[in-house]
């Protein structure tokens, strides 16, 4: 790994006074901090190695030994699609809403209300996924079902709404909404903290120039919080991709690849599939399930990589211009 970096801060290298006691304390502290970073790498390497080693028997097995008698690629393909699809629906709903809610709490609501709301949102981040699952089955699905029936009757020419319509409403759209509600508190809480940290001088300067509230938000709050918002979205996406119990409970699984949002035949997700199949699996089927976990791992890796790249490019672009 790299050599201990010279102490730097955003503004450039800084040399604190060169007292020996300072240097010892600094060295210990820096060592601790770096040690923690290395520890995380080791931990992740352990998890990755565990996944890879446990996956190998499934990846090398012939199709007939695997569950459903399909090759591994055919087995995992629809699952990967379902995972991405459900998470995309969730993020599409949750991202704008959570930014809106965070703005409401940080810049629009009265101060007293804001504290209470922030507290309430934090609290909701703690609702266990099992409860989201129960809520999805008993409350949300019946609420959404008539809407889906309407869409199926009137808009069935759009592939998303081609029937047949589920009689219970436990579709991938419902699962996506449940996921959106699940990741909303986390995304909102992080966005809120970020927005609240906007340098006050920037905002006051904009106000002094006669900017409207939206212009303040657009010109000082959002640019300041962009990387944080993307971070929040990534955390939310990570949870949506990996969510297990809620999806397993809510989604009616049919297998196959389909963009139909309202039918009872929905693609399953990787994490839910592991939860559903693991208890009764044995032998190479267990390895196959762990291998799908590896695929999920890789998907998350790629998504995060892409997000990082986007943030970095934006930054370069802004600084370069």
């Amino acid at each position: 790994m790299s050599a201990p970096a010279a102490p730097t801060i955003a503004g450039g290298p800084v040399t604190p006074l060169d007292a020996p006691s300072h240097r010892r304390g600094d060295r210990i502290f820096a060592g601790l901090a770096r040690g923690a970073g290395v520890l995380i790498l080791v931990l992740l390497a352990g998890v990755a190695l565990f996944l890879v080693v446990e996956s190998v028997p499934a990846l090398t097995a012939s199709s007939s030994e695997l569950p459903q008698g399909k090759s591994f690629a055919h087995y995992v393909g629809p699952l990967a699609f379902g995972t991405a699809f459900a998470a995309a629906i969730a993020l599409l709903i949750a991202a704008p809403v959570s930014i809106g809610v965070a703005l409401f709490i940080s810049h629009y609501s009265p101060r007293r209300l804001a504290g209470v709301l922030g507290y309430l949102i934090d609290l909701l981040a703690a609702v266990p996924s099992v409860v989201f699952g129960l809520w999805g089955i008993f409350w949300l699905a019946p609420q959404l079902q008539p809407g889906m029936a309407w869409l199926g009757t009137h808009l069935s020419f759009i592939p998303f709404f081609a029937g047949p319509v589920s009689a219970t409403g436990r579709t991938i759209l419902t699962a996506g909404v449940v996921l959106a509600v699940m990741i909303l508190p986390i995304m909102t809480a992080i966005c809120r903290e970020i927005f609240l940290q906007t340098p006050r001088l920037h905002e006051e300067a904009a106000l002094a120039l006669g900017a409207t509230r939206w212009e303040v938000v657009r010109m000082s709050v959002l640019p300041h919080g962009r990387s944080g918002v993307i971070s929040a979205a990534m955390l939310g996406l990570g949870r949506a991709l990996g969510e297990t119990m809620a999806v397993a409970m809510v989604l009616s699984v049919g297998g196959g690849v389909s963009v139909n949002l309202i039918s009872p035949q929905n693609p399953s997700t990787i994490a839910a599939n592991i939860a559903l199949q693991f208890p009764e699996s044995s032998g190479v089927a267990v390895n196959a399930l762990i291998a799908t976990g590896l695929v999920l791992f890789v998907i998350t890796f790629l998504v995060n990589f892409a997000a990082r790249a986007v943030v970095a490019r934006r930054k370069d672009f802004r600084e370069g211009s």
Partner: protein
């Protein structure tokens, strides 16, 4: 659960990453027992794992057994039958609950966990009828033949007023509502038994293989018995299969046995278990049963799930052997079966089956 050696090494690499507090010795974890094994008063922990179908009954058994033996703690992880068998075969737990009996392969493997070259045996202790339950406004009871059930779940019959259903239910007013079938989306012993019933009793109307994964296309999937029941209740014109004790409030179908219609009852379910033949090619003491789905005896309800306790005939540890033996004796006893019936709604095994169980349980011993 089996985790290969290489992955253990992989995980070992991460050891440094984990701050493990000092936990001296530590070999005293679950599955291992403490306390005296010298006859008389029993004490220690006994842990099992496996079928979630048995969990409610297991709670009753644990409670009843602990009441008689206050120094004993029984715990049971409902990880699923497959998980339970894997843990049992890797020596993780001294007994497992399983909805399916051990395969020949697993029997061979069990010889390395059980002592003295003897293998494991399956003891049928839990019989539960599976209900074909539906939610159709105005209709509380239906009569369905195996062929009709198979066609409904195979999407060949799609409306409630289909002639096939009408023919079997003279006098019932059937609406033209579309049928939505609900099946288990997780692998389960319930699915296995339901499909086994369809494929044996409905013949060519059920073209799919018998497996614990639902193979037919179409219909809704739901997780677990509770999920299936919730889904049936949540829709109109829905039909599914679930453990009979859990379908409260829903209509249930009488199924055709021979030429008569048989409804769900504990005695009819227990009778089906008694009438069924022992599986062939099993070691002595093993009581695996192949349920007779095509019996024409009108006192038997053939759509049942039979769940087993998987135990060793010989244990290395004296105390474990004593605990398992005492616990299983209680489980198979009339008191244990009544407790399970009360807590889980299962069907108490008939005295004929219980007698066989107890004979097998008597052979459990410690090595040497």
């Amino acid at each position: 659960m089996k985790v290969s050696r290489s992955s253990r090494i992989a995980a070992a690499l991460a050891v440094g990453a984990i701050v493990l507090s000092a936990c001296g010795g530590g070999s005293n974890s679950s599955g291992q027992q403490t306390g005296n094994g010298s006859g008389g008063k029993l004490s220690g922990n006994l842990a099992g794992a496996g079928s979630s179908a048995q969990q409610a009954a297991m709670q009753a058994w644990a409670a009843g057994f602990q009441a008689d033996n206050p120094d004993v703690t029984i715990s049971y992880d409902p990880v699923g039958s497959g998980g339970g068998r894997e843990q049992f075969l890797s020596g993780g737990v001294p007994f497992a609950g399983s909805d399916a009996y051990l395969t020949t392969d697993e029997l061979t493997k069990s010889k390395s966990v059980c002592a003295g070259g003897t293998g494991a045996i399956d003891i049928p202790v839990y019989v539960s009828p599976i209900a074909v339950a539906f939610n159709l406004s105005g209709v509380k009871s239906l009569q369905l033949s195996p062929a009709t059930i198979a066609k409904i779940f195979n999407d060949k019959i799609t409306k409630w007023d289909d002639p096939a259903i009408k023919a079997e239910n003279a006098g019932v007013k059937l609406p033209s509502t579309a049928i939505s079938t609900v099946h288990r989306s997780d692998d389960s012993g319930t699915t296995q038994n339901f499909v086994d019933y369809l494929s044996k009793a409905a013949g060519s109307d059920w073209p799919y293989p018998v497996d614990d994964t639902w193979a037919a296309k179409g219909g809704e999937g739901a997780e677990g018995t509770s999920g299936v029941v919730a889904a049936i209740k949540g829709g109109e014109g829905t039909i599914g299969y679930a453990d009979a004790s859990q379908v409260g409030g829903l209509g249930t179908a009488k199924v055709k046995v021979g030429s008569s219609w048989v409804g769900i009852s504990a005695s009819a379910a227990a009778k089906a278990a008694e009438l069924s033949k022992p599986a062939s090619g099993r070691p002595s003491g093993d009581l695996a049963i192949d349920v007779d789905r095509t019996s024409s005896d009108p006192s038997a309800y053939p759509l049942v799930l039979i769940s087993y306790q998987v135990v060793c005939q010989t244990y290395k540890d004296k105390n474990v052997a004593a605990l398992v033996k005492a616990f299983e004796t209680y489980v198979a006893s009339a008191a244990g079966q009544q407790a399970a019936a009360k807590a889980a709604g299962s069907a108490p095994i008939t005295s004929a089956v219980a007698a066989k169980d107890l004979t097998s349980i008597k052979t459990i011993k410690a090595a040497g």
